[in-house]
């Protein structure tokens, strides 16, 4: 009874948009697709919706070949990153549109629409024109239309990306509530995003996509704690995880003329060259630390992002307070060795502070 995709490949031009993607989505679960822009997220959702036909591979749902079923009979719902509503209809008519298309009884339609309006918090907006609404409200209408349909597959394609910061935070909170309350156990929810924080907060099963290829699948916590390779580590962290080329010998970890004591989880590691990974938040300012040169300092909200350089290595440190730095100034920082990741030369994870390895 699952939504199963096997070896889906879509290559309309020189580049792969989807490359050998397989998945098995179970009802009542939330799946997030994490990937950078142009990684194939939208293509995957459109393929599931039926707007695109893959060149190879199969999709089946409830034991039926999904690819043979045209879009308008698939009973899916999709929310786009652009706020797509029907501009010639008002809010109420927008939400009834798919229900009338399915020829439901007027009582049923009224009930479903009222329920959806309540869920997204747009009661009282029924007769408004779409153009009179703010971006956030427009996206709520689109979400309400998708919820009212009670589709078995609900696709959300970066629904928050075009909203401003504040609204995004607010809607994200609401999404969590809506997903836990407003959806039946029959629904498969697929949510695509570029934002690792959204993935962690929604806390579903994650698929990490890059250049049309699945890099890793697993629960959000697993992706965060044990990214299977350097690419995943970059994509699933914001700012991306820092990478330092270095080596391990019997006594120390060495990179850029810095030596660190070997942390416990590296004890069994072979002595050779590695790519060490460290999150920006695990780097602290420290008078007794190592000297780096500031290339750029960005203040965002209550945090300061320091772009640092030493030798050939460039790293980003996240300082949890607002500080003023001068460019080219030298600062001393300290690495938390207990939070180091080790990736092989071929970028596969060999050791993580949370105990995961890739062999």
């Amino acid at each position: 009874m699952n939504l199963i995709g096997e070896k889906i490949t879509y290559k309309p031009d020189e580049q792969f948009h989807l490359n050998d993607v397989s998945f098995n989505f179970k009802k009542g679960n939330l799946y997030t697709i994490l990937g950078r822009t142009l990684s194939g997220k939208t293509t995957l959702l459109k393929t599931i919706a039926g707007l695109l036909n893959p060149d190879q591979g199969s999709i089946s749902f409830e034991e039926k070949d999904f690819i043979k079923i045209p879009v308008w009979e698939r009973n899916v719902a999709m929310v786009y990153q652009q706020f797509i509503n029907y501009p010639h209809l008002n809010v109420y008519e927008n939400i009834t549109f798919p229900l009338e298309q399915r020829k439901l009884s007027p009582e049923q339609i009224k009930k479903d629409v009222d329920e959806a309006l309540k869920t997204v918090g747009l009661v009282g907006f029924e007769n408004r024109k779409i153009q009179e609404l703010s971006g956030g409200q427009q996206q709520r209408v689109a979400l309400a239309r998708s919820l009212a349909k009670k589709a078995k597959i609900l696709l959300l394609d970066e629904p928050l990306v075009n909203l401003d910061y504040k609204l995004r935070e607010q809607l994200r909170e609401e999404f969590k509530r809506i997903f836990s309350e407003g959806l039946s156990q029959d629904t498969i929810l697929i949510y695509s995003t570029t934002d690792p924080q959204e993935v962690m907060e929604l806390n579903g099963e994650v698929i990490v996509l890059d250049e049309g290829k699945v890099l890793q699948k697993g629960p959000a916590k697993e992706i965060f704690e044990n990214p299977s390779n350097l690419k995943v580590a970059e994509i699933s962290n914001d700012p991306p995880m820092n990478v330092l080329k270095g080596s391990k010998n019997s006594k120390n970890l060495n990179f850029e003329n810095i030596s660190l004591e070997i942390p416990n989880h590296f004890k069994n590691l072979e002595d050779k060259d590695y790519n060490f990974g460290i999150r920006a938040s695990e780097i602290k300012l420290d008078e007794n630390g190592e000297e780096f040169e500031i290339e750029l300092a960005e203040i965002s909200g209550s945090e300061t992002l320091l772009h640092l350089k030493r030798g050939n290595s460039k790293i980003i440190a996240l300082i949890e307070e607002v500080m003023n730095f001068k460019i080219h100034e030298k600062v001393k920082i300290n690495f938390n060795a207990n939070k180091f990741y080790a990736f092989r030369e071929d970028e596969k994870l060999v050791s993580s502070p949370y105990g995961g390895t890739n062999g």
Binding site: K46, A49, L51, V71, W72, Y80, I84, Y86, P87, P98
Partner: protein, 282 residues
């Protein structure tokens, strides 16, 4: 500075208004004159300068047997040909434009843009180049000097305008709107007439307006492709100009021939001022 600007602004608006409206006023005034008032001295204001008469207007509806010119039949011919050709052009042009905007066509080296250019290229050619082929074509199929033949030719002339305007319009309607309609249970035809078409009304109005204007004012093809059976208004109006120019009935017929365009302009202007043409879709 701003005072000077305001002054200049109103000065030019006034100047332009006079420039545009004066010929109309002249035509209105002249249409009520007779031979005497036109040729004796310069006169403008009826009753004061000259004695107004309806003779210029009466001639237009009198049959030729009674010394009139009877523009009634050409008038309705023109309305019929313009409306029919515009309607067919809009319907076919909109469908063609939607296809060109949404689907990808490949035939040898021909792509969507080439097809769009083919349509527009029909208007790039000077009409005189088309006149001989049209003449031969219509005489071969026996439609020379007939309303149907004119409708066919006008469709060829008007459809490129409709396609051109509507392709541009559809390109600005997000593709995701059609896709949402499909996802919401519409088949492609329903998506077109339930969602895309209602949101394209501003484009349809603009395209329709251009088709009607270009169809209505055409003199060249109406002149070349008709002789005695069928006459269109522009040809008839010009034909009024005989050895003695009857300025009064010429003015009257000019006024009735621009009247439909003025009505169209007023209707469209209402849509323009409501901001409906700027488009609800961003």
């Amino acid at each position: 500075m701003s005072k000077l600007y305001t002054f200049l602004k109103y000065f030019f608006i006034t100047f332009w208004t006079v420039f545009v409206v004066a010929p109309f006023l002249w035509a209105v005034s002249t249409s009520f004159k007779d031979f005497q008032s036109v040729n004796s001295k310069v006169t403008y204001i009826p009753w004061l300068d000259f004695e107004p008469t309806l003779e210029g207007w009466r001639v237009l509806i009198k049959s030729p047997a009674k010394g009139g010119v009877d523009i009634v039949e050409p008038y309705f011919n023109s309305i019929f040909v313009t409306c029919t050709a515009s309607l067919i052009s809009i319907v076919l042009g909109t469908l063609a434009a939607y296809a060109l905007s949404r689907f990808t066509f490949k035939a040898g080296f021909v792509r969507n843009n080439d097809i769009t250019f083919f349509f527009i290229s029909q208007r790039i050619m000077p009409p005189i180049v088309l006149s001989i082929p049209f003449f031969i074509f219509l005489s071969t199929i026996g439609l020379l000097d007939s309303l149907l033949g004119l409708v066919v030719v006008y469709i060829v002339l008007l459809m490129p305008i409709a396609v051109w305007i509507m392709v541009d319009f559809f390109n600005r309607v997000p593709k995701e709107l059609d896709e949402t309609a499909l996802i919401d249970g519409c088949n492609p035809y329903q998506a077109f007439y339930k969602v895309v078409l209602p949101n394209s009304i501003p484009g349809l109005i603009v395209a329709g307006m251009f088709c009607i204007i270009f169809g209505w004012i055409d003199f060249f093809f109406a002149f070349i492709l008709t002789f005695t059976e069928v006459q269109l208004l522009p040809v008839k109006v010009v034909a009024l100009n005989s050895s003695i120019t009857p300025w009064w009935s010429l003015s009257a017929s000019a006024l009735v021939s621009v009247a439909p365009l003025i009505i169209v302009a007023f209707i469209v202007e209402r849509y323009l001022s409501k901001g409906n043409l700027s488009g609800a879709l961003k």
